[in-house]
Amino acid sequence: MAEAAKKGLNAFATIKNIMSELKKVDKAFTPNSQQYQYLVEQMRADQVTTRRYSKAANESESVAKLYLSYIQGTRRLNTLQERYKGGEKTVEESARLVGLKLPERKY
C-alpha cells in the first residue's frame, strides 16, 4: 500500500519536472496550451486510488519518466552540441591572431 502510494507520488513529481522542462524550451507552454492541460489532468488522474491497482501499476509513472528522459535528453544533447561544436574562425579573428587588421569598410 505504501509502495503504491510512493509510486503515485513519483509520477506526480515526474510530471512536475516535465512541466518545468517544457517551460524552459517552449515559450508557448502556458496554462492555455493543450499539453499543459493534458499533463495537469494526468497528475489529477494519478491521485485517484483506483489507478494504483491497475495491472501495470507503474505504467503511468514509467511513461512519464520516458517522456521526461526524452525531453531532458534532447535539451542536454543540444547543450553538448552547442558547447563542443567546432567552427572555423572568421577571417577577422584569423587576421587578429597574427596581428593584422582587416581594412575598414567605408559603407
Binding site: 517544457l22 524550451v25 517552449d26 508557448a28 507552454f29 493543450q34 499539453q35 493534458y38 501495470a56 507503474n58 505504467e59 514509467s62 511513461v63 519518466k65 520516458l66 517522456y67 528522459s69 526524452y70 525531453i71 535528453g73 534532447t74 542536454r76 544533447l77 543540444n78 553538448l80 552540441q81 558547447r83 563542443y84
Partner: protein
C-alpha cells in the same frame, strides 16, 4: 498526418513547438517515427520488420558475457542477468547468456518463436518503434525491458553501454563524445518506447 493517439499528437506538436528559428528535424524523433510509419519509405512489412528484430537476438549485446575481465564479468552478471530473467519470466523462454561469441544457441527455436509471437502482436507503427528501439541499443533484450517498463531509459542505456563505460573506468573517456552518445541513445530509446506505447494502447479520443 493522422494520428490515433491524442497524447502522441500532443507530444509531436510539442516537438515542433520547442524548436527555435532553425529546425532540428533530426532531433524530432517522434515526428520522424510517425512519418516513417505513415510513409514507409523503405517499403517494409510486418514480416520484414519482425525478422530484422528477431535477427538481433542471436547476436544480442547482453547475451554474450565477457570472460577476460573479472570486473566486466561481474558488472554483466549484475546488470544483464536480470534483464534476461525478465524476458524469460514474461514470455516463458529459456534464453541464456553465453560466454563464447561462437555460441549459436543462446535462444532455441522455441524461444525465438515465442519472441516472434510477442513481436507480431504489435501493429505496424508499433513495430516501427520496436525496430528503432532495438537498433538504437543494438539489443532486443534491452529494448524489450525498457518497452515493458521493467527499467527506465537511463538504466537501459547503462546496460547497452556497459562495456564502453567499464573501459572508460580504467582508461578514461573523451568527455564530450561519450556524453553525446549517451544522450543520443537516451533520446532514441525513450522516443521509440513512447511511440510503441502510444500506438499500442487504446486511448479515449478527444476532439481537438
Amino acid at each position: 498526418m493522422i494520428l490515433d493517439s491524442y497524447p502522441l499528437a500532443l507530444a509531436i506538436a510539442e516537438e515542433w513547438s520547442s524548436q527555435d528559428e532553425h529546425l532540428q528535424l533530426g532531433q524530432m524523433r517522434l515526428t520522424g517515427l510517425a512519418f516513417t510509419a505513415q510513409d514507409n519509405p523503405l517499403e517494409q512489412s510486418a514480416d520484414t520488420i519482425s525478422r530484422k528484430i528477431l535477427d538481433y537476438v542471436d547476436g544480442d549485446t547482453v547475451l554474450f558475457f565477457n570472460t577476460e575481465s573479472s570486473k566486466l564479468h561481474r558488472y554483466q552478471e549484475e546488470n544483464w542477468a536480470p534483464l534476461i530473467r525478465n524476458l524469460n519470466t514474461d514470455l516463458g523462454t529459456k534464453v541464456r547468456a553465453s560466454e563464447s561469441i561462437l555460441d549459436c544457441d543462446v535462444a532455441s527455436a522455441e524461444d525465438k518463436s515465442k519472441i516472434e509471437r510477442w513481436v507480431r502482436q504489435h501493429n505496424f507503427p508499433a513495430l516501427i518503434g520496436l525496430q528503432y528501439a532495438t537498433e538504437s541499443v543494438k539489443s532486443f533484450v534491452v529494448a524489450y525491458n525498457a518497452l515493458r517498463h521493467h527499467i527506465d531509459a537511463e538504466t537501459a542505456i547503462d546496460a547497452a553501454t556497459l562495456e564502453q563505460r567499464t573501459q572508460a573506468e580504467t582508461w578514461g573517456s573523451v568527455e564530450w563524445a561519450h556524453g553525446l552518445e549517451r544522450e543520443e541513445l537516451i533520446t532514441r530509446l525513450s522516443a521509440a518506447s513512447l511511440f510503441v506505447y502510444f500506438n499500442s494502447n487504446n486511448f479515449s479520443t478527444k476532439e481537438i
